[in-house]
Assembly symmetry: D2
Homo-oligomer: 369 residues x 4
């Protein structure tokens, strides 16, 4: 029996709630999950969401959730700036923590979270959905099998268009206080994929750009944009691979693109999150006259797709990533190995992000350390 606390009920809060609710039916091998306590900013909102999501208790104070003795694990899905305080408090209260990414606004706070996790001995996991898709997990297996030989080059792009409209008003994400820009919003995602496939980044050279220098202010007038919607990065991984990472949150037409190109001595793997139920593989072991990129639809052969659907090619959804992640968390709670990004690995990802920002500022290659 696992007692669950949830703080936050936005996009990710709902996603966690569905994951906790469905994980048993999907996987069938889990302990009983009890939705114990939901925390939100106000009592009213907490109660409405608790009813919708099926939680037994509701509080307008998140501390009530982490102090609830029936709660074993706390899902932290609030805005980033609240992550450090809540995650650390939960860990110190002896709870396991499943916190959404990114860790924290500053590297120092992320470090404090990692330290709290180390001290606590509790499970401290970050919500990196994209590492959980059957296609990505299978790509990882294929790389381990060296199906494309030795990897020698890597390109990764993450693009969306939610900031692309030049007529949209100036808001908090345009203020320097919110961070660097696309680097914070996006870069952790491709970095989580890189971390799982290849390990750490060693050096970065970053260039950031602003598509729109200023924006209209709600009350009238215009204000200079202080964050960067575009970041382009040259990088070297610790294993020696040269690669590039590019992010753009003003890329019209891109909705959830995370495009991966992995080049090896015997083939190439291509993946795009916008069609995450498939991936592409080119191998030189095919006869030369019939070599081509195979578009492989995921199916029961690709774990854990079959737990959701016994027929291939029917497709998982974005929310299913979180159910898989939830199942991995349960596995680790039960002492089994699991495919997750914990606070240690997450801190390394944050370290790369901050090195990128420094590189842009100093206009030079920066070591990630």
């Amino acid at each position: 029996m696992v007692g669950v606390g949830l703080i936050g009920t936005g996009f990710m809060g709902k996603c966690h709630a569905i994951a906790w609710t469905s994980v048993g039916a999907v996987f069938g091998d889990t302990p009983r999950v009890r939705l114990v306590h939901l925390g939100e900013a106000t009592e009213d909102l907490a109660e409405r969401c608790a009813r919708e999501f099926g939680f037994a208790k509701a509080s307008g104070d998140w501390r009530a959730v982490i102090e609830d003795p029936e709660v074993d694990i706390v899902s932290v899905t609030t805005p980033n700036q609240f992550h450090p305080e809540m995650a650390i408090a939960a860990l110190e209260a002896g709870k396991h923590v499943w916190c959404e990414k990114p860790m924290a606004p500053t590297f120092a706070e992320a470090q404090a979270m990692r330290d709290a996790a180390s001290r606590s001995g509790k499970l401290a996991v970050l919500g990196f959905n994209y590492i959980q898709s059957p296609a990505f997990r299978h790509i990882r297996t294929l790389l381990d099998e060296r199906i494309i030989g030795e990897v020698n080059h890597l390109r990764i792009e993450m693009d969306e268009d939610f900031m692309a409209d030049p007529e949209a008003l100036f808001f908090w994400k345009h203020e320097a206080a919110s961070g660097y820009g696309a680097l914070d919003d996006f870069a952790v995602h491709p970095l989580s994929l890189i971390s799982k496939l290849f390990g750490r980044v060693s050096r970065v050279m970053c260039d950031m750009a602003k598509p729109y220098a200023d924006r209209q202010v709600a009350g009238g007038g215009r204000r200079a944009v202080e964050t960067w919607d575009i970041a382009s990065v040259l990088m070297r991984l610790e294993n020696g691979i040269a690669g590039t990472l590019q992010v753009n949150r003003s890329a019209w037409g891109r909705k959830g693109r995370i495009a991966l190109q992995i080049f090896g001595s015997k083939g190439t793997i291509v993946f795009d999150q916008e069609r995450f139920n498939e991936f592409q593989l080119y191998v030189t072991s095919d006869r030369p006259t019939e070599q081509g990129f195979r578009t492989i639809l995921v199916g029961p052969h690709h774990e854990p797709y079959g737990r959701f659907i016994p027929a291939p090619g029917h497709g998982l959804g974005f929310n299913d990533h979180k159910i898989i992640e939830c199942h991995e968390i349960i596995a680790r709670l039960e002492g089994r190995p699991a495919h997750l990004v914990d606070f240690d690995e997450g801190l390394e990802i944050e370290r790369s992000v901050h090195a990128m920002a420094r590189s842009h500022q100093e206009q030079r290659w920066v070591d990630v350390r």
Copy 2:
């Protein structure tokens, strides 16, 4: 408060269970759902599944489910041959019924189900997932808006490869007793889409084929295959549109293809279920130099995608269709209009299937009546 009974725990049983569990968290506007009673072939299996799926009671006898006074609606997800008996009994016991497709092995049985539904005054709905995807629902809206003008031609294909291996053993689906073949397994799906977009089929001309004349029998020797893996149909709809429908369950490489091409006087719509989070639209209102098929990724603009995910292009999964269907059922239970295939509409779909089979047998055009 809705009390749910579930009979059957295979592919669709699990899918119903997840739908009933998640519909509240996803949509947030539903009555409380109670998972009351689960029925399976044996007590043991019923109990294990009840635990996994979160049902309160379990029985080895399905009649216990339909007789349970706490049950308001029964999900029937057993093999087809059991549908008539179970659905009719449930309706007669005063329960609403949500029964998986196809209705029944014979047309007479399907008719009996429809009649029982009429007599009961209860909700009697068939599980046609594919009509629920945001892309399909949006296509329907676009056709209503006449974005491609007057539709004049239609092509639809449904293909999978689960019967494609010639080395696979003879099994019950190769026996004539199981039905016609691909026509039963698949044709109802494209017909459900046609029904929702264009209404009834009036005439059909069908040709069926067997990729493999005989198959190995488990014990040794070979046996003639009695069912048809391929069916190709010329058809006329009641609204005058000429179209074709093709199904193939031995189509290597096709995993869940339902490919739709809708031609109109001002454009064309193309859709493929294997990539059901997108559809293609060509319109003549675009400037001639820039006319092309647009690949449109579904997002919050396309109902009810936004209930699942606030960001576009992140993708729903196959199981999410069932959650949407479940939400439609709840809407109808509450007296609101809903997008569903009820037993009346389902019977018309079955009528078309049987007319196709007769057409093949008699090698001539057959009226659907």
Copy 3:
């Protein structure tokens, strides 16, 4: 040395001219080609085109071309109704003939052409470009190698949108005198592919449709359309394969689509003429976890791509088909085997077309004989 006569200078006339001009440079193994005599409807047009295309002589009378003793082979590229007279006259004048498709408006005329060819002992070839692409030729080789095992099903579609505009005026192609409609314009193309891959068609069941019942007349008023823009055909080939053939010349957005799906016991081949520099192959010999449709870009491995371009993936153009066809003609002139549709094979294709039309008229299966 080959002396060339050309009658007609439209789309295909120009295409033949380019082919005759370039074949030597591309293939490098051909006899010297001399552009001897060009015939057009008027002296002026003939002279202008002769200058542009590089022909030595020009005539306003096509008979001058076929009677020119320096001419060895005549390219006939005039509108269809002139094919019989010109081709027969050229053959009777002892010239080889390379005539554009379709053969002739009526089956009787096509037969007369075939008979004239038989009597003459001369080369009599029809211009079926699409059989010449490296992708198609390679598909043929793969089928011979049984890379997808035994073929058991076939689907082919040919669609364009040049008749799709309902506001376009009534013109001669809408008159019954012009033929059946899409069947004449298009069906011979897919049938040429079928002929090369699988041989003859034995039975057909055809349904034709008119997207627009009537059209505006130039002078005012409306007139009933007498031809059919859409034809859908069920068919059986002599080798027993069941298939479908669909053509639509009012299919908005389709520009030069010829979509082929070939299903076999060990795989599937998919091809679309709109992207004729690639084809797709699915084979069950790939490991199950990595089975998928390979998109194979043609290159020097695929004959005769390498004669045009030594680097793969750079792409041939539509006009290059004709250069390849020209090279095949030269091969046959020199007594070597060649990949062409001669008047005998062409007549069988016409036979299928007329059987389809009769089937539609009589609303029943018709034998092709």
Copy 4:
């Protein structure tokens, strides 16, 4: 009347020959082209090629070609190291020059070529095929029309796999004497596109990589590879746009990829040379519910496609680029404006390449000047 001399008969030599031969038939508005004189390394080869390509004279000494008084323009298609000497000599002999890219192995030589061109007053053009495709030319028009608003970001990749095999032997392209590597082989192509769309590059930051540190030598043993198959570049254009350029000649599965992503304030344009008969356009002027990338097939609307084929979607080939380029050259010879890269513009492209190499060497941002 234009008298043509050709030096070199490899890939590009043949391509020039076909262009000169076909340009009249394709465009119909050109002066008569005379294939006067072909030069190759040996008399024999020159004679064989002259016969195949249709040239009147042949020489084993290229100087005979440039000195031939009947020659007006010389196509220089020999290996790069010969370009400077031949092009300069031809210009000094009063001939127009059409020289294949890249200009020359060293920047100093390229400068000398440009200076010779300036002094001569003759036409001096570089063969940059990819700027000639109807899709690319139309993209240029669309950008001028600001269909995607103000461009704010650019990504361009060029990849092939001809060096990808780690088992291939060490050859001259692995020696430092051959240049930098992929930067020389490929970068000029994307830079030619950038030059035509956006103008000059102002600053670059480049990182180069070697997929394989050493390679087998023919005689036995291994030798260190001295050139770089991969180059990744951050760049700033003079107009302020930030972009990236990536090239890789060891990218398995890529055959002729030149992938362009152009992001603007009102939309996005995507293009891939491997499918150069289409491009993709996303515009925010489409209704939000139907915004998507349009795949636009080129046709007669897109100049000069219609000169080749009157029907849309039938596809040009790689060699057709050269015919278009040839037509542009004739236009400029006749004093009309033309879409070409002359030696001035070509030198700026070379300048960018050398700046990239220096940036890699010095590990810092370098100004292109």
